[in-house]
């Protein structure tokens, strides 16, 4: 990093952090590595970051050179990564007795980096008998099970476990081509580790084997350096790891984009519609690849929209006639085609889809449009497309803003649900009163105690809902599952359908059952059903269960957050009275009733 670059980024950090992030990303991509990471890290640390992660790394080997690279790669993605490292080789004790370091470090995430050469050297070098390799795999899986279960019992923070990479070459000779015992055993080990992590709550695989294969095994590790300083990776391997691990962190922690907004001219097709006409624009091979990448994102639950400066009728006709190599007009949930500037179009799209500007990603071939959006709507994630359209599909696939580590049924159903939402909005706009609108929806709510299959969705709702969440108490899958078997607690779920379709599980009440007075620990609704009086039906369900158990009163608390203002009046609006405790409200069940709204048919299970 020369003096000019340093001065330019320092100035941008003062005046334009969005441009500073882009400038730092370019410097990193030009020469990623140890020296560039050291030079960039102070500036990257000054970027405003939406996510902070105190990461504690337990390791069997030297990892220190990875950390600055990882911090830069994560920082450029919007994650302020604050790593700490466990003792060299003391991972087993730290995993089995995690109390002290957990209390001291207070990590947001724990990462396990164990090198196969340390754990089971027989799997990495020289010829070995099948029985010996099988025993090594069984022993290692047994150890990993004990270590991970011990750690999971002590903390609910997310865990990430690196799997194991096949060594380069054929240490057992070419007979390994005929009898690939070592690679079979390693595949078995990684399969076992994946099953182990899948059985633990919020425990994820960091696929070292995939990253090594992608990088190339030759040049992944240098045995002389491994022996001298305990570092299992070369300089280029460290760059590949930093990028892959930052991507994984982003998939788990964010920041995420829910909507991809696409430009048309020059982006989805080649040519300018206004100048070339429909006959003059074409979807050439790189744009076919781009459309395929966009269609793949849509299949993973990402919403698509169009923002284009064009004549609307002509552009829609072109979408139907020309663009549809991989995409169709109906794939785009919102379309802003006209002569508004792109930032205004993006704001309109966010409003129409009911998401924040920070949920949008913007795809446009024109550097000036990208620059304008960065300036006028800095919350939007602007994808910095390369000059060569052949790179665009890969750029989109590599963008971790769209990554999730696990897709729920609700994630996959998001585009269909959004279309239903648009139908509802159209109905609301034409109804002569709110009551007419509610009645015309023909809503049906089913309120029932939580079942095992709903645990992941309920935990996800406690972690993701902000606006209609009265206490914002976040819970892991394990914490929700624990309530299932606890007689002191009852968790009620609300599923909603209406004339436009099934919204799924959209309401949760977590209740502490005192024999005389039930306490509402959590009351939340998915943002997709806010404004339809569903909370009244949910409270009616709570009262139904509390009365049946003989409770005389219901007590709830509202804990204000930066985002839950829409829920602030929930208790007073439903007849609750303030108690002496701040933010606490109470309903006397012996004298007061709270029926469900007449326009929602409610079923209790």
């Amino acid at each position: 990093m020369n003096a000019g670059d340093r001065a330019r980024t320092a100035a941008l950090l003062e005046t334009d952090p969005v441009a500073a992030r882009l400038a730092l990303s370019r410097l990193w991509q030009t020469d990623p590595g140890a020296a560039t990471a050291a030079a960039l890290l102070p500036a990257v640390s000054e970027l405003p970051q939406p996510v902070t992660c105190r990461l504690h790394l337990l390791r069997s080997c030297t990892v220190e050179p990875l950390l600055p690279l990882w911090q830069v790669a994560a920082g450029l993605r919007g994650i302020a990564l604050q790593p700490t490292v466990g003792g060299y080789g003391s991972y087993a004790v730290e995993l089995l007795q995690p109390g002290e370091w957990l209390a001291e470090r207070q990590p947001d995430l724990v990462w396990l980096a164990l090198d196969l050469a340390d754990l089971a050297p027989e799997l990495t070098a020289g010829p070995a008998a099948a029985a010996l390799l099988t025993v090594a795999v069984e022993r290692l899986l047994g150890d990993l099970t004990a270590w991970l279960q011990s750690l999971r019992a002590a903390t609910t923070v997310p865990l990430v476990v690196q799997n194991f990479a096949l060594p380069a070459g054929t240490p057992g000779g070419l007979q390994e081509w005929q009898q690939p015992l070592r690679s079979d055993c390693l595949a078995e080990l990684n399969r076992g580790l994946r099953q182990l992590c899948g059985g633990l709550d919020d425990c994820w695989i960091a696929d070292l084997e995939a990253v090594a294969a992608d990088h190339g095994r030759r040049g992944w590790s240098d045995p002389q350096r491994r022996a001298a300083v305990g570092l299992p990776w070369t300089g280029s391997a460290l760059v590949a790891l930093a990028e892959a691990w930052a991507r994984l962190l982003q998939a788990r922690l964010g920041p995420h984009s829910k909507v991809l907004v696409c430009d048309l001219d020059g982006t989805l097709w080649q040519g300018v519609l206004g100048e070339d006409g429909i006959a003059g624009v074409t979807v050439n091979p790189p744009r076919v690849a781009l459309q395929q990448a966009i269609a793949d994102l849509a299949r993973r639950g990402v919403l698509l929209a169009v923002a284009s400066k064009n004549d609307p009728a002509e552009a829609l006709a072109a979408l139907d006639q020309v663009a549809g190599r991989r995409l169709a007009r109906a794939d785009f949930a919102a379309q802003r085609i006209g002569w508004d500037d792109k930032a205004s179009s993006l704001r309109a799209i966010a409003a129409e889809l009911g998401v924040g500007l920070d949920s949008l990603a913007f795809l446009d071939d024109h550097p000036a449009e990208r620059a304008w959006v960065r300036q006028a709507a800095p919350e939007v994630h602007v994808i910095e497309l390369a000059d060569d359209p052949w790179q665009w599909a890969a750029q989109l696939r590599d963008d971790a803003r769209f990554e999730r580590l696990r897709l729920t049924a609700e994630d996959l159903a998001r585009p269909a649900m959004l279309r239903q939402q648009q139908h509802r909005a159209a109905l609301r706009d034409t109804a002569d009163s709110l009551e007419t609108y509610y009645r015309s929806l023909r809503m049906h709510a089913r309120i029932a105690p939580l079942t095992l299959t709903e645990v992941t969705r309920v935990a996800q709702l406690t972690r993701k809902t902000n606006q209609f969440n009265l206490t914002t108490r976040r819970r892991s899958d394990a914490a929700v599952a624990a309530l299932l078997d606890d007689p002191a607690w009852l968790v009620l779920t609300l599923r909603l359908t209406d004339r436009f379709g099934d919204s799924g599980l959209v309401g949760v009440a977590i209740l502490e059952r005192d024999p005389r007075c039930w306490r509402i620990d959590t009351l939340l609704l998915s943002c997709r059903v806010i404004g339809r009086t569903v909370e009244t039906a949910l409270l009616a369900g709570v009262i139904h269960h509390a009365r049946r158990a003989g409770a005389g009163a219901l007590v709830g608390v509202f804990i204000p957050s930066a985002k839950n203002e829409p829920a602030a009046s929930c208790y007073p609006a439903h007849g609750f009275s303030p108690t002496a405790a701040p933010g606490e409200w109470s309903l006397d069940l012996t004298t007061q009733d709270l029926p469900a709204p007449p326009w929602i048919e409610v079923t209790f299970a």
């Binding site: 003096a3 590595g33 140890a34 050291a38 030297t62 050179p65 600055p68 002389q224 350096r225 300089g235």
Partner: protein
Amino acid sequence: MPEELLLTVRRALADLLRQPLETVTAATSPANTPAWDSLLHLNLVLALEQRCGVFLTPDALPEAFTAADLATALAARRG
């Protein structure tokens, strides 16, 4: 010693030490640079490996060495 390799070494060192390039010279060494510890040296070797495509092993350097010695060792490895 090729000047181009010396410049590469000085640039990598300047980045790692977060110092202006002009403060890092051919005579800069672990002995006269307190921040040049074993971790910084490992990072320097990794950076040179990437920027020059040459693996430097510990035995490639004399016990007391300077930036210029590093450039010479890189040149020798390149052949």
